[in-house]
Symmetry: C2
Subunit: 429 residues, 2 copies
C-alpha cells in the first residue's frame, strides 16, 4: 500500500454547523484511511472576518476571499454552510464549473435552484450532495435515492421543523398558549429572533420541496408548496384534538396522485396511534409510503451542531469514496419526470372545523345543506359547550376538494346563525 | 445517447421474496433507463423443480443447474434468495470468483460467513450487498455505512424479528398467554411451523451480528451473540411491566463499550416513552446512537414479500449504478477493526426479578444483603400480592455485571425464605 492520499476540502462558513463539521473530521482522522482509502482535510475556511477567533479552528486557514478557494486547484470538495441564496448560489455554481464537488446543507438554495445546481454538477461529473438539507442528521435523501429506489413512492410526509414541533409539544403537554410556547422556545434557543420562517411553515416548505422532488423523481420547488403556519393554533384546538384521540402537528405532506403532485405544509390533526404523533420536542421524523416497502419512518434530530454535521460529514465521506473509486457524479439528479404540481385549490383534504352557532333547531340542518350543496361530505359532527345562547359545533369532513370546501365556507360566513368560525384545520387520513 | 444497455441477472430461489423481486423489476422497467442508465433483466431463475408453475414467471427462464448460471458470461448479478448456509455459500463464493456481483437477503450466511464473502468480493472488485438481511424493507445497512459513516456508533439496537414482536404485542394488548399468541401467529402466517429460530431469538441474533459488525466496524458473528427467547414470558410479567410504565420487547442490543463489544438478544423491559416501545405487531425498528447524530431510529416492515423485495431491488439498482459508473466494489467490507466481543458473563445490565418469598420480617433484609455481598446495587423494590403465607417481591437492580448477578442468584436459590424466582428479565436503561 502506497502513501495514503490527502483530499483537500474548503469550508464556507465557520458557524455552529461549520464548527461541528470541522470537529467531526478531526475526530474521524484515524478512521479515514480504512474507511475511505484517503484522508480528507479542511484546507481553507471562508469567513466574513478572519480576525475573529473561533474555538478549535486554526485561524491560518481563514480567508475572506472566495477566489482563494475557487482558484486553489488542490481543493476538491467545497462544503457550503453559509445558508441563504446569494452568494452561496454563485459560489457553488463556480465551484462545480471548476470541477469541485459540493456538499451543502442549504435547503433554501436547493428548494429554489436545485435543478440549476444539479445540472451544473452533472455537466462536470461532480458530486453535489445535500443530505443535511432535510431533517438534519436523519438519513433520508440517500435512503430515498438508493435503498428505496425500486419503489413508486406515493407519499412522503414528516415533521421537518424542530422549532414548531417544540412549540406544539409544549402546547400539548403543558397546555400552553402559542405565544407562551414561542417565548419559551426563543428563551431556550429553539427559535430564532425572527421566527417567521419556522412558525409560518416556510422552512418546512423548502424541505417538502426537496423531499418531494426526490421521492417522486420530479422537480418540486418551494413556490409549488402551499404553506400554512401554526400561529393561529390555540390551546382550545389542542384540547379538542385530544378529545378526538388526535394531536396537532405541523406536517409537511407531499402526495403523488394520479392527476398531479400535492405538496403543502399545514398544522394537521393526526391520530395518536400514528408513529408521527409521538415525535416530541425538537425531534424530526419523515414517513414514507411506497408500493413495495409499504410504510417506513425515519426519526432523529432535525437540527443542531453535531446531528447536522453528521449528515454533512457523511456526504463528505461519500464524495471522497467516489473520488477514490473514480465514480464522482455517479448518482446525480433523479428528477427525470415532469409531473404537474396541483394548485392548492385542486388538492383534497379532510377538514376539521369548529363553529360557534346559535343554539336552536335547524342550525345543523342548515350547515349540512350548505356542505351538501358544495359536494362536501360530512364524516362526523360533535356538538358541545353551550355558552349562553351559543353552541359549539365541530365538523369533520370526508376527503374533499379544497375548492369545494372553500366555497362552503363562503356561504357559511354569510349565515346569521353562525357567529364565528373558530378553527379550520386539515385532518390526516 | 446510444442504445440503452441491458444488464442480465439471475435469481436463486423463486419463493415469496424471489417472486416479489421479479415483479418489482418488471414494474420498474420503464423507470430504469432514467434511474440507472440501463435496464436490468432476470435472465435465469434457479429452482428445485423447473416443472412447477410459478405465477407471473416465465418458465423458460427456470433452471435446476447452478452451473448454467455460473457459466453464463452474460449474467453479471446473482440475486440469492434461497436462504440457509449451503449451497448458498458455495454458489455465492463461486459467483464472486467469476466476477459476478451478489445481492442477498441471507442473514444466516452473512452472520456466519460475512467476512469470507466480503473478502472474496473485494478480491474480485465485486459488489456484495445485503440490505434485506436486516429488518426487511427498512434501510439500515446503507444508512450505517454511508449516511452515518462519520459517527462513532456506540449503540445499535432494535426490534428485528416480526414474529416475536407480533406475539408480544398480542400478549400486551390482548392479555394473551405466550402459547395462545404463538398459536394465533401460526394461524395468521406470522410464525413458521417450527418457530424455534424466531421465539428463541436466533433470527434476531443473526441480525444483531450483522448490524453490530457494520455499526462498530468490527466483525461480530452469530456465535458472539448471546440469545434468550420469549417462551418463558407470561401475561403476569407483562402486567407487571405495565404497572412500571414499561413494555416487554424482544430487543437485539449491541453496545460498543470501552472494554469490548456486547451483543445479545433478550426480552427486555423498556419504558413506554421510548420510541421502540410503540413499535407494534410485525413492524421492525432499529435504534442507533452515534457521537454526532445522537439518537436516530428507522422503522418499517421487517419481512414480507414486497418490503423485503424493496430492499433487494434497491441493492440491485445500486449494483447496476456501480456497473454503469465503473465503480463496483467501491463500498466493500467496513470491518477494519478487531475489537474484542465480551462473553455474556462480562456484560452488564439492569435486571428485573420477581420472587415469591415468605411473608415475614427479615426477608427483604436477607435478600438485600445477598445482592450487596455480590456487588449488585438495588434500584427499586416493590412488594405486593400476598398469597397466603407468601408475598411477591419485585426487584430492579442498577446496571451490574451479569457474573455478579448470577452469583447472587445462586445464593438466593439456596435460601429457604425464597420459594420461587418467577421471572428474570433485563431492563433497558
Amino acid at each position: 500500500m502506497g502513501e495514503i492520499p490527502v483530499i483537500k476540502a474548503a469550508l464556507l462558513g465557520a458557524g455552529t454547523v461549520g464548527g461541528g463539521v470541522y470537529e467531526i473530521l478531526k475526530r474521524q482522522w484515524e478512521e479515514m484511511p480504512k474507511k475511505l482509502g484517503a484522508f480528507v482535510e479542511i484546507k481553507k475556511i471562508l469567513v466574513r472576518d478572519k480576525g475573529k477567533k473561533r474555538e478549535g479552528m486554526d485561524s491560518a486557514q481563514f480567508t475572506e476571499e472566495w477566489k482563494e478557494i475557487l482558484e486553489d486547484p488542490e481543493i476538491q470538495i467545497v462544503i457550503e454552510l453559509m445558508g441563504g441564496i446569494e452568494p452561496a448560489r454563485t459560489y457553488l455554481l463556480e465551484a462545480l464549473q471548476a470541477g469541485k464537488h459540493v456538499v451543502t446543507a442549504n435547503k433554501d438554495l436547493l428548494a429554489d435552484y436545485g435543478r440549476e445546481l444539479l445540472d451544473m454538477a452533472a455537466e462536470h461529473s461532480c458530486d453535489l450532495m445535500f443530505e443535511a438539507a432535510v431533517a438534519g442528521g436523519i438519513p433520508i435523501i440517500r435512503p430515498l435515492k438508493q435503498c428505496l429506489a425500486a419503489n413508486y413512492i406515493t407519499e412522503v410526509m414528516g415533521i421537518v421543523n424542530g422549532t414548531t414541533n417544540y412549540i406544539l409539544t409544549r402546547m400539548t403537554l403543558d397546555k400552553m398558549e402559542f405565544s407562551d410556547a414561542l417565548a419559551l422556545a426563543l428563551e431556550l434557543g429553539y427559535a430564532e429572533a425572527d421566527p417567521t420562517a419556522d412558525v409560518e411553515g416556510y422552512d418546512a416548505g423548502r424541505k417538502v420541496a426537496i423531499m418531494a422532488s426526490i421521492a417522486f423523481n420530479s422537480r418540486v420547488t418551494f413556490g409549488d408548496v402551499f404553506t400554512e403556519g401554526i400561529t393561529k393554533i390555540t390551546a382550545a384546538d389542542i384540547a379538542y384534538a385530544d378529545e378526538l384521540n388526535m394531536v396537532i402537528k405541523l406536517l409537511g405532506v407531499a402526495r403523488n396522485a394520479e392527476d398531479g403532485i400535492e405538496a403543502g405544509v399545514y398544522p394537521m390533526l393526526i391520530p395518536k396511534y400514528h408513529p408521527l404523533a409521538s415525535v416530541q420536542d425538537a425531534f424530526n421524523a419523515v414517513f414514507v409510503h411506497g408500493d413495495a416497502v409499504d410504510d417506513a419512518m425515519f426519526l432523529g434530530r432535525g437540527a443542531g451542531r453535531y446531528p447536522t454535521a453528521s449528515a454533512v460529514a457523511g456526504d463528505i465521506f461519500e464524495a471522497v469514496r467516489n473520488i477514490q473509486a473514480g465514480s464522482t457524479g455517479r448518482l446525480g439528479c433523479t428528477c427525470y419526470k415532469n409531473l404537474r404540481v396541483k394548485p392548492a385549490d385542486e388538492t383534497s383534504h379532510c377538514y376539521f372545523l369548529r363553529l360557534q352557532v346559535e343554539d336552536r333547531p335547524g342550525v345543523l340542518a342548515g350547515i349540512a345543506s350548505v356542505f351538501g350543496n358544495n359536494n362536501v361530505s360530512i364524516a362526523q359532527v360533535i356538538q358541545k359547550n353551550k355558552r349562553g345562547e351559543l353552541a359549539e359545533l365541530a365538523v369533520i369532513t370526508e376527503r374533499v376538494l379544497e375548492r369545494h370546501f372553500k366555497d362552503s365556507l363562503l356561504v357559511l360566513g354569510e349565515m346569521s346563525m353562525i357567529k364565528e368560525v373558530s378553527t379550520i384545520l386539515r385532518v390526516y387520513a
